[in-house]
């Protein structure tokens, strides 16, 4: 099936900020990874990274305000599968995020999403515009 999908495709979905939609966004990320030709483990990793970005957007960015939108876009290119997650929130200090692996942070019940994102894709970029919200870009490089 993957050979039938041209490597210049784009898909975009927009949802209200509800936790209930996160499974659907995760499932879409899995399907996009399969279409990109990723194997089972890489599909799992990519989809979990997208899930974490979507969760941040819904919960931290938009504060689960269903009137605020989360936009998830995928771009499938020859050498990369890219996911972009945008919210309409107040932003998040990615650079200043504490390392949850440090002993002093290990018993915290949150703060691991960014670690998962960074671990499971090849590149994570973050931009925040106070007027427009936060945008997280996840890039998974494709072999061949």
């Amino acid at each position: 099936m993957s050979s039938a999908v041209p490597k210049n495709s784009q898909v975009q979905v927009v949802v209200g900020s509800r936790v209930e939609y996160i499974d659907a966004l995760h499932a879409l990320a899995e399907e996009m990874a399969k279409l990109a030709g990723l194997g089972e483990d890489e599909t799992f990793s990519f989809a979990l990274a997208v899930r974490e970005a979507a969760t941040n957007a819904v919960t931290h960015g938009n504060g689960q305000d269903p009137t605020k939108k989360v936009t998830l876009s995928f771009a499938l290119q020859q050498d990369a599968l890219t996911a972009v997650v945008r919210d309409q929130g107040r932003g998040f200090d990615f650079q200043g995020a504490a390392d949850p692996r440090l002993p002093e942070n290990r018993f915290k019940t949150s703060g691991r999403g960014l670690l998962l994102m960074r671990s499971f894709v090849d590149q994570v970029d973050y931009n925040h515009d106070p007027a427009r919200g936060t945008q997280v870009t996840l890039v998974k490089l494709l072999a061949g």
Partner: protein, 111 residues
């Protein structure tokens, strides 16, 4: 996610199946473990063999359960996490926090 509770001697085993993720699985886990500690169960094993994966919210809830156990002077241990779940525990360095077993009998006699 589903949680099935078994009492074996002084140990309570919770067989979890499905995924421990935000909005559903993490809530089931929280409510199940909270109820068991409130009922006086002290020694709890979470059987993760049926858990396909967790997200950061699920991982956070596992940590919350561990803290709840400490508050109640109890113990919470893990049994047979799948490869993906164990990889997540390793990645987040929580393999150092949770005592983890592959064999249920070994888990039961460890208390």
């Amino acid at each position: 996610m589903k949680a099935n509770v078994r009492k074996i001697g002084k140990v309570t085993v919770v067989d979890l199946s499905g995924k421990i993720t935000i909005g559903s699985g993490d809530v089931v886990l929280k409510e199940t473990v909270q109820r068991l500690f409130d009922e006086g169960h002290k020694n709890i094993v979470l059987n993760l063999s049926g858990v396909s994966y967790m997200d950061s919210a699920g991982i956070g809830e596992l940590v919350a359960c561990h803290k709840r156990a400490l508050e109640k002077q109890g113990q919470l241990k893990l049994l047979n996490p799948s490869g993906k779940v164990y990889d997540l525990l390793m990645l987040t360095k929580l393999d150092d926090v949770f005592e983890t077993f592959k064999d249920e009998k070994e888990a039961l006699v460890s208390f």
